[in-house]
Symmetry: C2
Subunit: 199 residues, 2 copies
DNA sequence: CGTCTATTTGAATGTACTCAAAAGCGGTGG
DNA sequence: CCACCGCTTTTGAGTACATTCAAATAGACG
């Protein structure tokens, strides 16, 4: 390893789920690769098979979908300590429907499909780690789905701001609209309404 | 086992994901329990900790959420070979936000939290099985979220009918409306519009 | 058969969208 | 350092999708 601390963030992430020996960590690191991207780099396009799960060491990405009307819908934004991937495409090695791109200069730690399989074979507790990870994502998605069906856009926006204040600072507003499933114009109107309320 | 074939459906389900020995299956079965419920039985209420994952051997259930306005939103309907649970509540042993109830007389195969942990310990490939299971659910949820943001209610209804024809037959229409995130009145209007179209 | 619940229909309303145009903001080059 | 360009955000008018409320009809079950 050129820089002994480059994996410190991902190691800390792992350590919250499972216990690994020094040797396990060394093997884990041997299966990873690190890469830097400029702002607005495309990491995945719909139609490609997603070849990686990427841990954001530094930077910001968005994962989005292009619907039949040509509108982008943002699935989520990732900052430090988030993973970006299309799990469906990656795990089944089939073409993706999603796009992933960087919103800032970004340093990613990659794990490939083959490396992940090797990891599962050599260190079975990674099965558990990734299961817990997917479970958490699942819970988040479910809550989002429920709030979409239960709350008007204004409340969903407030909940988003409240839950992801760091992301609101870093992501342009029209992308947040695309995440909330509303038009940028409408989000702007919501914001101006909220502003006049709080005065 | 009183009835040697009672687990045949769940065994077939498992076999699609992982390979198990006869002994493994025997142990697996020893960790399960089977229970029959009448129509409209409540299996879980919001506020309770979800103590089980339930595999539907026979019957039909719904998993739903009660929002702040007192409206029910259906997360999904389960028929034979589906699992019903609140994974977030179950896996973290914290109070649920969901309700689960039967829509027909239903036979469920239960696995408790402790039994599942024992299973993971004794047969680690179950970690993999449940990871794959959550991954599939994750993919389904994601598609649903995207379609909610991309398609009007009419198309979502058609997609639902197309994807789950068996469920449409068995679940009352106002619950399908609650799944689609629309009012029963509006679903009725969509249907009558579709009917006049296809004549 | 009667009761209870589910579905349909209609009118009025509201939330969010489309389209168009103006204003703001950030970066880049002269 | 300012001017300009492109992109983001705001604002407004008209429209569409979906809701609410109310009432009528149809179905299911004891």
């Amino acid at each position: 390893m050129s820089n002994p601390s480059i994996f410190s963030s991902i190691d800390a992430y792992i350590a919250r789920c499972i216990m690994l020996s020094e040797a396990d960590y060394a093997y884990f690191h041997s299966q990873l690769s690190v890469k830097n991207y400029k702002k607005k780099s495309r990491l995945l396009s719909a139609g490609e098979v997603c070849t990686f799960e990427g841990f954001i060491n530094k930077g910001c990405c968005r994962v989005y979908y292009l619907n039949a009307n040509g509108n982008e819908v943002d699935l989520y934004f990732g900052i430090e300590e988030w993973w970006v991937s299309d799990l469906a495409s990656f795990s089944q090695q089939k073409p993706s429907n999603l796009f992933i791109e960087t919103l800032e200069d970004t340093e990613l730690i990659f794990i490939s499909y083959e490396a992940k399989e090797r990891l599962f074979k050599k260190i079975p507790s990674f099965d558990r780690m990734f299961r817990l990870m997917v479970q958490r994502t699942h819970e988040t998605l479910m809550k989002r789905l429920l709030s979409t069906y239960s709350e008007p856009a204004e409340e969903r926006y407030l909940a988003f701001v409240n839950r992801y204040p760091a992301i609101v600072q870093r992501v342009p507003q029209h992308l947040i609209a695309a995440y909330l499933g509303i038009t940028p114009e409408f989000l702007s109107k919501i914001r101006s309404k909220l502003k006049s309320k709080n005065k």
